[in-house]
């Protein structure tokens, strides 16, 4: 299948041509006393109702307007996720102005680039650390630096410094004196106004600023809400940085659309505790953050006593098997849940997680299924800063290998998402994105456009029969065969490595080769045990690697991966290496990454036999022994052809 069309959502909570601050006002009117934000301070949660949040936003808006912030101006912010930051963003947006959020660990040099590039007028710097970054820079056009935490700033004399408490105080007066102004200003902003500039970290050169409009933010929020079923007043913990478009979509836009109750941790160090105490219903983490959570559990289990570790291992095994078979809960599965998984979910703060999302590609299937074994309904979410959220595991389906199907769009905003796969394998967003281009860089935006008016994602994907997207690799990292067919090298190798029989695998695929082939380093321990159980004799690793039964198992793993690939890029042939890849012989880096040229050179005979259509070959393999002497060993290696 080479193109897909999504659907319009059925959730009635649509944006109705509103802007973020317009929606904020409407939500406050609907239920002024319902809690909208909570912040932990002094060990207790302090709440602000929707009406109170609107009050804070109005005051800040009035004060910022008095400082000269108006339509199209830029207010930059460097801060952790704190409640004041969110009030400020809504206030800035209500003036028709734009925000730029930076990660708290941004360097002074990056701050300089972003402030100059965005032509920011005002900087919000959370505390002394962030203020110092700005003050270390000369020649900034910043007129004011608003800080939230004044600690350590007692003797700072820079005239630009301004306490947010002052801003709130003066703003309240200004707003009270002329309450119509706020409404009047809201009337002048439109859904297509730019709300945020989101800097994406280019791997080369300076970062580029994607312009996110109100429409973009609200339509993407709708996709999350309707796609995954976010309930009204869902508990959400603001954790990922608003410098990432994903938090602009969830923490700021979805928070108003659903709406959600947004919680702020006491400080970054207490997030784990606060998370556990809160048990949020909606979570969006990066794959890296999910991996860290999983490895924290695994590390804890390594420290546990053997009995507890045994119970944990048993429970994970039972639950994994249950998932694989797709059957209902067995008695053992239920027991595993009650005895082990409940406690793990509680410990991780995931016991109420109705919508748990991994945003971005690259969460390994292993970790993904581990969370499902824990009983967490983890879902992949795929998109980019430029083009927004495109796909996700909606409904009950969650194939860990896919990024899910196209998300439903807001019927009051636009057309459904439509994507197509180009001949190169690249995913093209044909419609349903709200990409306006990069700020002050028309050329880069134009480069993403296709002749038909779609946008290139830069990602190579495949569309499955069930209409789901499988992410392979970035286009620039893809290899191409002589036939022109693209081969997702990383994808294939990662999946091969997931087979217990395969320790390492190198896929041969480039423009000299007519088809893809694999050199496989078998896992000696697993394969050895397997051979012993079947009474197969072997003396050395070389002999083990060439056992017919072992090669059959490897062949099965390759056939498994082939099923996930388009025909043109199937792995047609493989050989099991008669010697383990060795970092001492420069075949691997110390972190076990493949050194491709070196491996191809060492096993040149095998490669030649693969592409020479031979059935086997005698490989002359140079080895270096521990004492430094070198020798060449001759081994007979079978060349295995896959059935088409």
């Amino acid at each position: 299948m080479h193109s897909l069309r999504g659907a319009l959502g059925k959730d009635p909570r649509t944006a109705q041509a509103r802007t973020l601050p317009g929606l904020l006002r409407d939500r406050a009117r609907e239920k002024p006393d319902t809690v909208s934000m909570r912040r932990k301070h002094h060990g207790v949660w302090r709440a602000w109702s929707r009406g109170e949040v609107l009050g804070q936003v109005r005051a800040l808006a009035a004060a910022l307007a008095a400082l000269g912030v108006g339509r199209g101006d830029v207010v930059a912010m460097i801060s952790e996720n704190i409640v004041e930051l969110y009030w400020l963003e809504y206030a800035v947006l209500s003036l028709g102005a734009r925000v730029v959020c930076m990660y708290p660990d941004v360097t002074a040099r990056e701050v300089q680039f972003i402030l100059n590039h965005s032509r920011a007028k005002i900087l919000v710097a959370e505390d002394q650390e962030q203020v110092d970054k700005a003050l270390s820079l000369d020649g900034l056009a910043i007129e004011r630096i608003v800080f939230v935490d004044g600690r350590g700033l007692w003797h700072y004399e820079d005239g630009r410094l301004l306490d947010i408490a002052k801003l709130l105080e003066t703003g309240r007066g200004v707003d009270a004196a002329d309450p119509q102004r706020f409404e009047a200003r809201l009337g002048t902003i439109a859904p297509d106004d730019v709300a945020a500039l989101c800097y994406t970290s280019g791997t080369t050169g300076d970062p580029k600023a994607v312009m996110l409009t109100h429409r973009y933010l609200l339509d993407n929020a709708y996709r999350v809400m309707a796609g995954f079923g976010v309930p009204e007043n869902a508990v959400y913990l603001s954790y990922i940085s608003p410098a990432w478009a994903a938090e602009q979509i969830t923490g700021l836009a979805l928070a108003l659309l659903a709406p959600m109750v947004v919680h702020f941790a006491e400080k970054p160090e207490t997030v784990q505790t606060d998370l556990r105490e809160l048990g949020p219903q909606v979570l969006l983490f990066t794959p890296r953050q999910w991996e860290m959570m999983a490895s924290a559990v695994q590390a804890n289990m390594l420290d546990a006593d053997p009995v507890r570790r045994g119970i944990y291992d048993w429970a994970v095994r039972v639950r994994r098997r249950m998932l694989k078979q797709g059957a209902g809960t067995s008695l053992a599965g239920w027991l595993a849940d009650v005895l082990v998984m409940k406690a793990i979910r509680d410990n991780l703060g995931l016991k109420r997680a109705a919508v748990a999302l991994s945003g971005g590609s690259g969460l390994s299937a292993e970790i993904f299924t581990l969370f499902h074994a824990f009983g967490v309904r983890l879902r992949n979410l795929y998109g980019s800063t430029e083009l927004g959220l495109l796909a996700g595991h909606t409904g009950e389906r969650f194939d860990p290998d896919t990024m899910g199907s196209l998300l439903p769009t807001d019927p009051s905003i636009g057309e459904p998402i439509e994507v197509a796969v180009a001949n190169s394998g690249e995913l093209i967003a044909v419609q349903g994105t709200h990409f306006l281009g990069y700020f002050d860089d028309e050329a880069s935006g134009a480069k993403m456009r296709t002749a038909e008016g779609g946008y290139r994602t830069g990602d190579v994907v495949r569309i499955t029969e069930s209409g789901e997207l499988v992410f392979f690799d970035r286009l620039k990292d893809m290899r191409r065969l002589a036939t022109g067919a693209p081969v997702p090298l990383q994808f294939v190798e990662n999946h091969l490595r997931a087979s217990p029989f395969i320790k390492d695998a190198m896929v041969l695929a480039d423009e000299r080769r007519p088809f893809a082939a694999a050199l496989v380093n078998i896992d000696a321990e697993i394969a050895g045990r397997f051979a012993e159980n079947r009474g197969l004799a072997f003396g050395t690793f070389a002999e083990l690697s060439q056992l017919g039964a072992v090669r059959e198992e490897v062949g099965r793993a390759i056939a498994d991966v082939n099923r996930r690939l388009d025909d043109g890029c199937h792995v047609r042939c493989f050989a099991t290496l008669p010697k383990e890849l060795d970092a001492d012989e420069a075949e691997l880096t110390r972190s076990r990454k493949l050194r491709r040229e070196k491996i191809e050179a060492s096993y040149g005979d095998i490669v030649a036999a693969i592409y020479g259509n031979a059935a086997d070959c005698v490989a002359r393999i140079p080895v270096r022994y521990r004492d430094g002497t070198e020798a060449v060993i001759n081994v007979n290696v079978a060349i295995n052809r896959m059935e088409p």
Partner: protein, 255 residues
């Protein structure tokens, strides 16, 4: 000039034939960090003990907040707003960080045992107010993520910080610290130095500090008092003291 917060004049103290303090005078003004340095046996601890009421000087006067407190016993000085931290740790290791800080409020609590036991409204109200104040101290010392951790599980640097939290709970008008940095690594020293500076800046509490780490002393003090053989041999701003010949000979020169 406004009245000093604490002033000692002509303190003399002897133990038998040993003269521990000879005509020692010291003045601490509001929001000032005064450090007392000197070789071992110079009389620094004797001076602190006189200031906080553990020793009574043979002669001389000590005035705190315009009141002569020379004859006042230690616990009365504490109630009057004089807080002291000691060498080593004075924490309850089986209690949590928050409980430790709360325990510092005992001098301010009015309710009796019965109030506390029966949890009558007065006791409950009082506890709520103290908990809020303890939380302010916990926030100030950046201990939020550890508030429910048992102190015995913490490292030395953090326990010392809890110790400081207990001292702040008596709502002190002056803080006397005896070698707070001893046994700390460079990071812990840096943290504590920052907290001492913040105590001065944010809470306007003057600090008297006895400390061996010269780098810290020269870095954070407004005034340095140098003692040798029970007498003050120099006092002044850190840069003045550093250049003083007698100081170099008696102390700094040996480093």
């Amino acid at each position: 000039m406004t009245a000093p917060v604490l002033e000692a004049r002509g303190l003399e103290l002897s133990f038998g034939a040993i003269q521990a303090l000879r005509d020692v005078s010291l003045r601490v003004d509001a929001a000032m960090i005064v450090s007392v340095i000197g070789p071992n046996g110079a009389g620094k601890s004797s001076l602190l003990n006189c200031l906080s009421g553990f020793y009574r000087p043979n002669s001389g006067t000590i005035v705190f907040e315009s009141q002569d407190i020379t004859g006042l016993p230690g616990h009365r000085r504490a109630a009057a707003g004089m807080a002291r931290t000691f060498q080593g740790l004075q924490t309850y290791n089986s209690m949590t960080v928050r409980e430790n800080v709360l325990s510092g409020f005992h001098t301010s609590m009015r309710g009796g045992l019965l109030d506390a036991f029966l949890y009558w409204p007065r006791g409950a109200r009082e506890e709520a107010a103290f908990t809020e104040e303890a939380e302010t101290i916990i926030e100030f010392l950046e201990l939020e993520e550890l508030r429910d951790t048992v102190v015995g599980e913490l490292g030395y640097g953090l326990r010392k910080r809890v110790d400081l939290g207990r001292a702040l709970a008596v709502r002190p008008k002056i803080l006397i610290m005896d070698e707070p940095m001893a046994g700390m690594n460079a990071d812990e020293k840096g943290d504590l130095a920052r907290f001492i500076l913040d105590i001065r800046e944010a809470r306007r509490i003057p600090v008297v500090l006895v400390e061996h780490d010269m780098e810290v002393v020269m870095d954070i003090s407004d005034e340095v008092v140098v003692m040798d053989w029970g007498a003050v041999i120099a006092k002044g701003r850190p840069d003045e003291v550093r250049r003083d010949e007698r100081v170099i000979a008696a102390y700094l020169g040996q480093d």
